[in-house]
């Protein structure tokens, strides 16, 4: 096939809503960086184990971690994180199916963080494989979590999310003996969308693999904000 001699130029038109979101997200990113934090946005289906993973990470990272929880309703998740020993702030979206940058900006206002008080800010998005992926919140790392019971066919069914992440977490691997889930299939399909993706397989129940993810995020935080004081 010949290339067209006069190729038309494709211009992406951004809606005013998304342009406003992206502007606030950029401002969030500057605020997060000014606090010497690494910002992480975790997205997945409801019930795939985001909060259980964060409880597990809280035990490892302690005060290095601070969490913003996004849920349609209830404060249940923030309370779980606080019980695990970390500071947490709950956003209740009251019907909205995703977090947006404005909600995270308000959470940052409420948290009143001081520079170097923590090292990693994890934003746990609303459980939803579709809508959250379109909204930049001001994070540095986007994590997509897929749990074993959901099935190994989900990556290509929800490509908008799995093509926009840099870290894939396969969670609840303690259930692999009881379910037909082929990690190699999920990883291969995710690599077809995001060739450079980092993959972590773990179980928050047994703890297997959680250290590797915690170490990776701690190292990313160190790279981003090299120590400036002894």
């Amino acid at each position: 096939m010949n290339a067209p001699s006069n190729p038309e130029t494709t211009v992406a038109i951004k809606s005013p809503v998304m342009a406003k979101n992206d502007a606030i997200a950029s401002e969030n990113r500057r605020r997060i960086e000014s606090l010497d934090l690494l910002g992480v946005n975790i997205m997945s289906s409801p019930g795939s184990g985001k909060t259980s993973l964060l409880e597990c990470m809280a035990q490892r990272l302690g005060n290095d971690l601070v969490v913003i929880e996004g849920d349609v309703q209830t404060r249940r998740d923030a309370e779980r994180i606080e019980r695990a020993g970390c500071r947490a702030y709950q956003i209740e979206t009251r019907g909205a199916c995703h977090l947006d940058a404005q909600a995270v900006s308000r959470a940052l206002d409420a948290l009143r963080l001081a520079p170097r008080e923590h090292k990693i800010l994890v934003i746990e998005n609303v459980g939803n494989l579709v809508c959250p992926s379109g909204y930049d919140l001001g994070e540095h790392v986007r994590v997509g979590l897929l749990s074993v019971p959901e099935g190994d066919d989900k990556v290509l069914k929800y490509p908008a999310l799995f093509s926009r992440i840099s870290v894939l977490v396969i969670a609840k691997i303690d259930l692999l003996p009881y379910l037909d889930f082929d990690p190699a299939r999920a990883i291969a399909e995710c690599r077809s969308l995001s060739p450079d993706i980092r993959v972590f397989q773990l179980s928050a129940k047994t703890g297997q693999g959680v250290d590797a993810l915690a170490d990776f995020l701690a190292e990313r935080a160190r790279q981003q904000h090299p120590a400036t004081a002894p």
Copy 2:
């Protein structure tokens, strides 16, 4: 507390988009009834087992069942239902996070069903616990499916969905021995939103409990369209 002497009147304003959806949904309902079908809308998280349940139901209900599959992308689910022996039509929403009445209307056009060709039309919604619940598709029965690995705390986290269903299915009960899921808690929280809800606990993997749901839907179809011919 005294009632206010001049209570203000609360008027629900429906957006033009939702008013249009509801008008098409009413037309869908008339079409579904004119085909002597019972319309069922199944909603849940991604990967909670809607398609596996429908494969299992297809083996029991055979040609009595016809399925409209909703997915963001891929034809995988319709192909699974067809392999299980039932007619299926795939809607690919191409990014949209829920089905709407217009998409179901087009699927009905494409299916070209004849009266009494089938008895139960199941519409499997996009895997999403938030957005689908707001859209009437023209169904008679709304089923919410919650799978054991998702956790027993999900009902009150997603009240918009679980308050608008008449049937709660607790799926993947074969995994109860391996997970901390209390069916009584999920059912009690669902009854707090929908007191008259019917509950079915089942496993598409072992088949346990699937007959009860299939029988319930077949009986509802019979009540709605009493046999008029020998």
